[in-house]
């Protein structure tokens, strides 16, 4: 058998395995836990449904890339308020396709978590050593100017002009060449996604990694779990093959905020509180395009290189953004020659976005009768909508401050483009409906949230299920609510702590 990562071509029959700890999911949560446990000398099996990708496997065509790397082909949406949301299906999970943004959650946010959710050891001071360790391991550092590219630097100019704070985004990259292709996967192998960082380190420390295995059930008796079962799945299809069973002293679910509740609900485990799958939260985002007199060469530069945390306490964060043109062009106005005119402005454009905390907007995840895809329901609260509108307004303000000659807001009911800030003021006076926006939310939280009291949450602050002694969760589902900023680094810090806690107990 391959000593590295076991892949689809190697499964020829049903099989069983036994280990100390089985970790389900190799995204930022699962990979960190697996590494910590393997390093502590535990016998670890890391199970991942998606395949591992080589740079040659990355599609440069955004549509086909999405269909290969994302669950439900990248077309997953919520019901209630319709919003697109993407979860990866690959070794490395979301870290393979994300923009590598690594930000510590602000102190006030973590204090809020502790106060509201009965947590005692999750202040910024408690998490700082874990944040630091992850940052050191992954080489996380602010994006240097030489890979910012004009569209990121224009954002800095805009913030300076308006007196808003701004900073280069800290990212988990080594040797980024500014290809702006993070969404498709990093051909330069610069992004330190967990497949190329924590997973190899876990293997080096003795972990076994099985890919193309879909875990379908957690095996439980009484208040303990004893393993997982599932089927082999052919990459890029839903075709199920051989069966497997892995027995373990401890099970860690890190299948992501959408998939972990589905597994628990299907297995009838850890849900005496009825909280599994509840409290679903997102960071919905709005984006606008500014057009500048000079060329911005927008495809060059870090995918997301600059941010402003000026308004984080007001509930939103501003960032630069780039994505495959075919993906973001969905928001551009027009049809026929008008659409072509909009698209022809892209070489002079920058795209910036606002992501909002939206703590009032909640939803839920439910297992479907068939298959593993979740049924998602979520509704944007009207007060949170006003925060998104405020975020949009700030983006427009920033664009004009940086010298944009027109801004395309991409919102139904607004003009297709603004030629001046004065024209754009109507954003603030107009009443909007949630359906006026093309929303997307790729940061998801809280469906198995941590809480000091087992009646109101699924896990304690170390990730251990209140009801099931040897079952842990280590994905963004455990965040009690939004971390106010991009979640990956906070999840990794929590996962490191969870891994160490398990190592001390097994």
């Amino acid at each position: 058998m391959n000593a590295g990562v076991r892949v689809f071509a190697e499964y020829h029959r049903d099989f069983e395995d036994v280990c100390d700890v089985v970790v389900v999911g190799s995204g930022p949560g699962g990979a960190v836990v697996a590494y910590e446990l393997a390093r502590a000398g535990k016998d670890v099996v890391l199970v991942e449904e998606g395949p591992p990708f080589t740079p040659e496997d990355f599609e440069l065509d955004g549509a086909l890339s999405m269909a290969r790397t994302m669950r439900e082909g990248g077309l997953r949406t919520t019901r209630g308020t319709i919003m697109a949301t993407m979860q990866a299906n690959a070794l490395g999970g979301g870290s393979l396709v994300n923009s590598a943004i690594c930000v510590r959650a602000p102190e006030f946010t973590l204090d809020g978590w502790c106060d509201e959710f009965g947590l005692e050891a999750s202040t910024r001071a408690d998490l700082d050593p874990h944040y630091q360790a992850i940052e050191d391991f992954l080489g996380i550092a602010p994006t240097p100017d030489d890979v910012q590219g004009p569209r990121n630097l224009l954002f800095r100019e805009a913030c300076d002009a308006l007196g808003y704070s701004s900073e280069p985004i800290a990212r988990n990259v080594r040797g980024c060449v500014g290809s702006g292709e993070c969404f498709n996967g990093c051909r330069a192998r610069a992004k330190q996604s967990t497949d190329v960082s924590y997973v190899p380190a876990a293997i080096e420390a003795g972990a076994r990694v099985y890919t193309s295995l879909q875990v379908q059930n957690v095996l439980a008796s009484g208040s303990r779990v004893w393993g997982v079962t599932g089927r082999v799945v052919r990459p890029f299809t839903e075709e199920l093959g051989h069966r497997f069973r892995i027995q373990a002293k401890v099970v860690v679910l890190a299948a992501g905020c959408m998939a972990t509740p589905v597994l628990l609900q299907r297995s009838g485990v850890a849900n005496g509180s009825g909280q599994v799958g509840e409290n679903l939260q997102f960071h919905p985002g709005v984006a606008a395009m500014g057009v500048f007199p000079r060329e911005t060469q927008p495809q060059f530069g870090a995918t997301q290189g600059y941010q402003s945390l000026e308004f984080v306490r007001d509930g939103y964060k501003l960032e630069t953004l780039w994505a495959p043109p075919g993906v973001f062009a969905v928001r551009l106005p027009g049809l026929g020659f008008d659409l072509k005119r909009s698209l022809s402005m892209i070489p002079h454009a920058a795209i910036w976005d606002a992501i909002a905390t939206c703590n009032r907007s909640k939803g839920r995840v439910r297992a479907r009768r068939w298959g593993m895809d979740p049924s998602l329901r979520w509704r944007l609260d009207p007060k949170d909508l006003t925060i998104l509108v405020e975020g949009l307004w700030r983006l427009v303000e920033l664009f004009f401050a940086a010298g944009a000659t027109r801004v395309l807001p991409g919102v139904h009911g607004l003009p297709e483009e603004f030629r001046s800030l004065d024209e754009a003021r109507r954003i603030r006076s107009r009443e909007f409906r949630e359906t006026d926006f093309t929303l997307a939310g790729n940061h998801v939280f809280s469906t198995t949230r941590m809480h000091g009291d087992g009646r109101f949450g699924v896990v304690d602050e170390f990730g251990r299920c209140h009801e099931t002694d040897n079952l842990y969760i280590a994905d963004t589902g455990v965040l009690p609510r939004s971390p106010s900023v991009n979640p990956m680094l906070t999840l990794m810090a929590l996962a490191r702590r969870t891994g160490r806690q398990i190592a001390a107990r097994v």
């Binding site: 591992p52 065509d61 330069a188």
Partner: protein, 211 residues
Amino acid sequence: MLGWIVVVALAGLGFRRFSLGYPARPVGASTLGAREIHTVRIAGRTIYPEGGAIAASADRAGLALHADRFVGAQTGKNRILMRLLLVAIEHATLVFPAPGPRGWRRFTALEPDQRLAYLDAWRHSELPARRLVFVSLRAILTMGYFANPEVLRSLGLAPREIPRVVTEADLLWPAVGEHPQSIRFTRGDLTPPGDARAPLGPTGTIHPDYR
């Protein structure tokens, strides 16, 4: 008797509307049927006509075959939804007729300016669900448009070549679908850590697939 005549007449009309007069499925298509490909092609010509600010048209950019590949790359449920979307666009003229004479004809049978007006009505509709259908259709076509090398080159957006870096991960697994025996790298191939790499820029060599 009269009832039967009406039923047979309606069935005939339905058959004609839904099945007749479509060109054969183009060579290379494997997922969408002839009718669906035709709908994509005509929608493509309406949304991305020949000429204008970007020269390439939908036909030249190969949107129909790209849509076929995109739908083919999706899992079961999405394939059904996308095909339903195409049926909706083609036949919703019965519910939302296009302006002008015989606006209830199927979308692909309308006159070019009727098609434009018909799609524009979807785009500006006050019904969010109708707007969503339009946005989804345009998304499928736009993703195809931006997959085309000529379009990307004309906007200076063609991907650049990036030198292959070999890391530990490249020793651990093969390309998707392959057996580990096909891993072609050894420790000796590893790129030394800290090897300086120049940021990409407009003077970089265009990726071979986009030249």
